[in-house]
Symmetry: C2
Subunit: 256 residues, 2 copies
């Protein structure tokens, strides 16, 4: 299928990494050959899958800035059909080192296009900013999945994302679609959560995934064990919701 | 007293803004003349205090990039002794527009030094990155307050912050002190929270504030009403914990 999905939102802590890891893992468990690209210098996707910083000789930095072939840095994971292209702190230098490079917004596109057909899905975890790394992800992607935390600041941040999408489509990637807005960390016991949920569904309609991810401490514990949720606690509500999200994404992929 | 405190952590969603707003408000309620500077282009501190984006003719962007006097953008708040220097999306351009400017890391220092004695405390809310805006904040500050969410990725991010502090002290600001590490969003019902809490206290000792901020939905609701917690719900656990944090900060200020 070769579908490339960027997981992006400039607001911090809204569940980009948790979604990137667990969507990728759930797709792979559903027999979809999946690559997870960690595009954040904070390398949370990398550590959340148990890839120790000390083991990494080369990371995505070497690929995007120094031109190392992507194949050379791919690592297997505990899930058979899932691989990861890991990040490390060196990637923080990328935004500055690429500033004067020609085609700096297309670096990632040129890296993933040749490997697109090797995978059913390529999932890209982005940092909490609209800087050069995220711009590269939006330039390379077929679609963008936007996690939105069920709280006020996240709701407010949606219009900034919207403007970014409009701008990216006009300049960098006219074909960039919205994979969907994903409600995350909703807490059924609070009015705030359901208020934000209904505001978002009113505002964005069918672009909001039917699946919403509940606040579930298992999702926060799993990365400390270096595992995706379905290996850490398959019976948790966290695992169930990401499995259902993967089903929605696979269905979108077949229509798309 | 004229003490300048940057609230910083490159990890997203750890409570920087919630801390900046509520620490500043609690200091002001404690008779300390306080200025809150919103240094984040996402302008969450600004909107969290009910300053509508449409009302802003000028923001911190005009001050830091176009040289507008700081006094011209200061706004009063519902708390008598608290003012805010608001931000807006234009500030996103600052990191790029200042790249080739001489002394670009000292822009903020040159802005706040002249007004230092007009306030007891100046609190700076930083974006989730270690880019030029955060570097400016660390260059201008007397001390840095680091909120750390009681979860795995935040614990992991502490070493990155540590390295940044070392680097900033060596190059930009040899006098930068640690105001303290603040445990945020701890959830007493989860083992994860208490595990992270004890790891942090072991690792950082007395640099961790005695006060920890509990997860309290009132803190997430308050910004949707444009109010700091002590005006939204003074009897909440959120309000109580930020009042106690303010007391610790005032005490540090008297020793320092
Ligand atoms: N549904 C959930 N239930 C409980 N905890 C969650 C959930 N989703 C994410 N978390 C936790 O919340 C924190 C923030 O999530 P995460 O790191 O995935 O967000 P992010 O958007 O990638 O953050 P950043 O902007 O820093 O990259 C993490 O500690 C994570 O483990
Ligand atoms: N103690 C708390 N209890 C409940 N919710 C909280 C608490 N502290 C913060 N929040 C909520 O968690 C979310 C993230 O907090 P906040 O925006 O303050 O973090 P931040 O570090 O400033 O994020 P960013 O990195 O995007 O600037 C917000 O929706 C906020 O209202
Ligand atoms: Mg992340
Ligand atoms: Mg913030």
């Amino acid at each position: 299928m070769g579908k490339i999905i960027a997981v992006a939102n400039q607001k911090g802590g809204v569940g980009k990494t948790t979604t990137a890891i667990n969507l990728a893992a759930s797709l792979a468990a559903g027999e979809m050959k999946t690559l997870l690209i960690d595009l954040d210098p904070q390398a949370n996707s990398t550590s959340g899958l148990g890839v120790g910083r000390t083991k990494l000789k080369k990371s995505f930095y070497h690929v995007i800035v120094l031109g190392e072939p992507l194949k050379n840095i791919l690592l297997n994971t505990e899930i058979e059909k899932m691989q990861i292209a890991p990040s490390d702190r060196n990637l923080a230098g990328a935004e500055i080192e690429l500033v004067d490079v020609e085609d700096r917004e297309y670096k990632l596109k040129n890296i993933v296009e040749p490997v697109r057909q090797d995978f059913d899905f390529i999932i890209i975890d982005c940092p909490p900013s609209l800087g050069l790394l995220t711009v590269n992800a939006l330039g390379a992607a077929d679609s963008v999945l936007i996690p939105v935390q069920c709280e006020y600041f996240a709701l407010e941040g949606v219009s900034a994302i919207w403007d970014t999408l409009v701008r990216v489509r006009r300049t960098l990637n006219p074909n960039l679609a919205v994979e969907g807005f994903l409600l995350t960390m909703y807490d059924e016991r609070t009015k705030l959560s359901s208020q934000v949920m209904s505001d978002l569904r009113d505002f964005l309609g069918t672009q909001v995934f039917a699946t919403a991810i509940p606040r579930n401490v298992k999702l926060a514990e799993a990365p400390s064990h270096g595992k995706p949720i379905l290996l850490y606690d398959i019976r948790s509500r966290g695992a169930d919701s990401y499995m259902r999200l993967a089903q929605e994404v696979i269905k979108n992929g077949k229509k798309g």
